[in-house]
Every structure is written in C-alpha cells, then in structure tokens.
Amino acid sequence: MAVIRDVMPAFDLLQPESAGDAQKLLQQHGSDAWVMAGGMDSLDWLKDRIKKPGVLVDLSGVEELKGVRATGDGVEIGAMTTLTEIANHPGIRKNYGLLAQAVELVASPQIRNQATLGGNVSQDVRCWYYRGGWPCYRAGGNICFADTPVGRNREHAIFGANRCVAVHPSDSVPALIALDAKFVVQTSGGERVVDAEDYFVGPEDDITRINMLRPGDLLTAIRIPAAWAGARFYFEKVRDRNVWDFPLMNVASAARLNGGTIAEIRIAVNAVSPRPMRLQAVEAAVRGRAADADTGEMAGKLAVEGAVPLQYNAYKIPLMRNLVKRAVAGAGQPQGSSTLASNALAQEATCRS
C-alpha cells in the first residue's frame, strides 16, 4: 500500500495555454521538464519522490488539445480529452465502440473524469519494484528484481521480456492498435505521425523508455481512420477487482466479416509484454476462415506459441489462449470486464472440452 507522505518536493509549475507554448517550454527545459496531463500517473511518481523533475508543464489549460473532432477520414481525439468524454462520446460509441468500451474499463469513475487519452497511452509500467524506486534495469540499474527466484511476478510478461519483465499496463492501447490509430507527435524535428504500435519502445531498443517520446516531445492527438468504423469489435479485460485494477490482461479485436468468414481482422493484447502486442501471425492465420469456435481455438493456440512464463504467471498462457479465442470467434462470447476467478472457470471448461 502506498504511504502517505509529506507534500511533494517543490517544482516549478508552468501552465501554458497553447500546444505551441507547451512545446516551447518543454524544449526549453529538456530533461528537467515533466509533461503533466491528468496527473494520474505523474503525481504518484512525484509523491513517491522517485522522479524529481524541476519543472512540471501542466497541459490542463490547453483547450486546443481537448475534444473529439470528425476529420475527412474518421476522427481525431485531442491528447487531453478525458476518458469519460471518450466513453460517452456518441460518435465514438457508434463507430469506434471498441475504444469506448476499453476506456470505460479503466480504473474508477473519478480517475476516468481526470485521466486523458494521451496520458493513458503514455503512462509508465506498473512493476512495483520499478515504481518503488528500486534500481532495476528500467531505472538505469543492472538487475531485474521481478525476475529473481523470489521476485513477485504474477502480473509480469510472458512475451518480449528482455532483462525487464514489466508489462505495458494500458487498457486503451490494444483498442487503438486494433483500430489502426495513428499518433501525432510534435518533436524538435517537426510533426511525426506514427502507427499506434510503433509509438511504443521495447526494452530491446531502449530499456529506460516506454515510448518514442524524447524530452521536449509532445503527443497532440490520436487519429482513428474510418476504415474500421462500425466493424465487429471485441474487447475484454481481466483483472482481480472490477474497479481500479490494471489489466492482468486485455484483448481487443476489430474484424470485417464476409458472411460468416473473417475478411479482415486486427488483434492486439496488452499486459503480456513490455510492448503492447499486435498479433499479426494470428491475424494472417484466421483471415478467410469462419468466425467460429474452431478458428478461435486455432487462433488461441497460435497466439501463445513461444510464450515464456515466469515463476508466478504461467496462468497467463491459458488466459491469453482463451481471450484470443473469444476475440476471434466473436459473437456470443462474453465481453467487457471479468475477474480472474470467473475466467479460471471458463478455462477449466475449455481445457476439459
């Protein structure tokens, strides 16, 4: 449990009113500056005195970064749009319900009222050793405390571990990957627009960064193309408690069906690896097949090939097999949020059958 401490150590608080000013301030202060959106991830770091920026650049007054706009091709969501606004937005609910469903399952109502989409995709990992200030690889040290014989790693990675075994914790990201979203980033070299999955950085590339942002960079918007509007969507999040908890795992898929056949599909899973995972091999394998339990079964098996469990997280393998199976088979499957206990029952049933 978190410890209540004294007020946070002092920092300078800068409150720009335009994205341009925000970027200028960020570039001026470089690695001494910290971007604060809703603060739901940021403030924990500061309260725990693990990160000590000299300058906080608060984006809450930057109106141009807020809101959902229709574009010629889909929608653009400002980085500072709250999760509640996205979950309630009629256009998003109608056409991109996958995202509405995902953000509606984040944390708690008050957190969703404050947390932004930009912050949700840019948040750091939740490994408690790292968050507790332990000098692990991700913190610039040379050990992973979670991957030792006594390490607590029930929530950690079964894929893509490279020294660091923490997982990416976001609920919105798999939905955005499945929707083929593009992230708009302002860098010192100008604007860059990247595919959702390319925003994230794995430990093999840079162990101390979770995404492409460098000091001075600003994520301004996320664009969702019309290509997947109104597709068949599937989202499921599994966690210990139905409120507050981060995903033990989540899955998102967007599919176009032709009769009962899968014409096109995108599938992403999070909380299984340090980088959010898009399952391209599974997508290719199920294309052209019937959207039914058999195809789902095959997809689930393929999805977990190569998984490497740690001491306490082997349960994630059958869990992932099950979630991917449902995300492919689609219709008639339970959606939304479930707890591990209810999923364990479902797994037992599938294992026996």
Binding site: M1, V3, I4, M8, P9, D44, K47
Partner: protein, 209 residues
C-alpha cells in the same frame, strides 16, 4: 500507515488535545497541520510560510476564497489544511479510495490527485457546500441520516460527493447503475448494501426536491 501518534506529546495523556481541536486551532492560527493518522509537515521547516506560495483565488462552495498555495500542493491539502474544510478526507492520497472526492464543475474528482493550481477558475464543491444556507441538508445528506447509511463514516463525504455528482448527470439510475457510478469509492467498514440503500433514497429525494 506511518507515524500514528505524532500529535501525542512526550509528557503523556494529560497534554493530549483532540485531533479536531488541534486542527481547527492551527488553521485559525494560519500554521501547518499534522493529522493524527499521518504526518504532514511543511517542506524544509516549521515556519508558517512555505517557499513558493502564491496567493490565488479559488471558487469553493460558491464563494471566492483567497488562499496562499504552493505549486506542488494538492486540492485536498488546500481544502483541509488551508481552508479548514476537513469534511474532505484523505484516505490514501493515491487515487485509490475515494475519501477525498469533491466536485469540480459538478464532476467528481479525487482532490488528492489534483494540483490546486489546476482548478483556478473552476467551481469546487465540497461536502460543506451541499447544505442550504439555512442549514437544510441536501437530499442525499438527509437520506444518509434517515437510512443510517454508514458505520464509522470516514468514507461518507466522498461517497456523498460521488453520488451527488453522479446524480446530477444521471438523475434516475437503477441500483446497479448507481453502484457502477459510485464504484470509485471504498468503504473499509464494508457495508455497501446499506450505503446503496441510502444513496438510492437520496436519488429519490433529489428527484422529488
């Protein structure tokens, strides 16, 4: 939680003061406050002024309040320790319990996880701002009294604020909808059914009011 007894002086019980009187006393004197369950001191010393405080005006419970605020100060801290509005509780200081819930522009937020400087120009409502000027309780407060919704009631103001905020946007929820709407609040005495009874009664009273 650390430092449980920091208000108790070395000499023993004869010099003990109640937590509430102590808090009201220091607030009146303008100094910083430590509460019995956790220890909070001014950064870098005991004096009454902190480095980097700035006078700002907040809109709290419909009134403009002039208050000196540090840049790193949370709204919960300002409300409790600068403005004396101790109805807002701090349970975790980490967005994990809901005890600190207040309304900002009528929407429930965790005041422990908001910097005070980010709510300038916005409307803050705390539990102290719900009753009418003549003392008539807000319908949700009245329902809590009638249905005896709470046990120790540490979580109560947070639950009431979350409920009032939810009902402003959803005046006629089902019990399940309301439970979902106020699921960002924990009660450690764990009588959620009674709390929901009270809040559903509050919803009914609000519709009638």
């Amino acid at each position: 939680m650390p430092e449980t007894d920091n208000l108790r002086t070395e000499e023993g019980p004869s010099t003990e003061i109640t937590r509430r009187r102590f808090i009201l006393g220091v607030i009146a004197g303008g100094a910083v406050v430590g509460a019995a369950s956790y220890r909070i001191l001014a950064p870098g010393g005991r004096g009454r002024s902190f480095g980097g405080e700035r006078l700002i005006t907040l809109n709290v419970n419909g009134k403009p309040r002039r208050v000196e605020v540090m840049k790193q100060e949370t709204l919960a801290w300002t409300l409790r320790y600068k403005l004396g509005l101790t109805g807002t509780k701090l349970g975790c200081d980490r967005a994990e319990c809901g005890a600190c819930t207040v309304l900002v522009d009528d929407v429930p937020h965790y005041s422990c996880s908001l910097l005070t400087n980010t709510v300038r120009g916005r409307k803050v409502t705390t539990i102290e701002g719900l009753a009418a000027d003549d003392g008539t309780l807000h319908p949700v407060q009245q329902a809590v009294v009638e249905a005896q919704g709470f046990q120790c009631a540490f979580c109560m103001s947070g639950f009431v604020m979350a409920t009032v905020g939810y009902l402003k946007a959803h005046p006629s929820p089902t019990r399940t909808e309301l439970a979902h709407g106020i699921s960002g609040n924990l009660c450690r005495c764990q009588d959620y059914m009674k709390i929901l009874d009270a809040m559903m009664l509050g919803a009914e009273k609000m519709r009638r009011a």
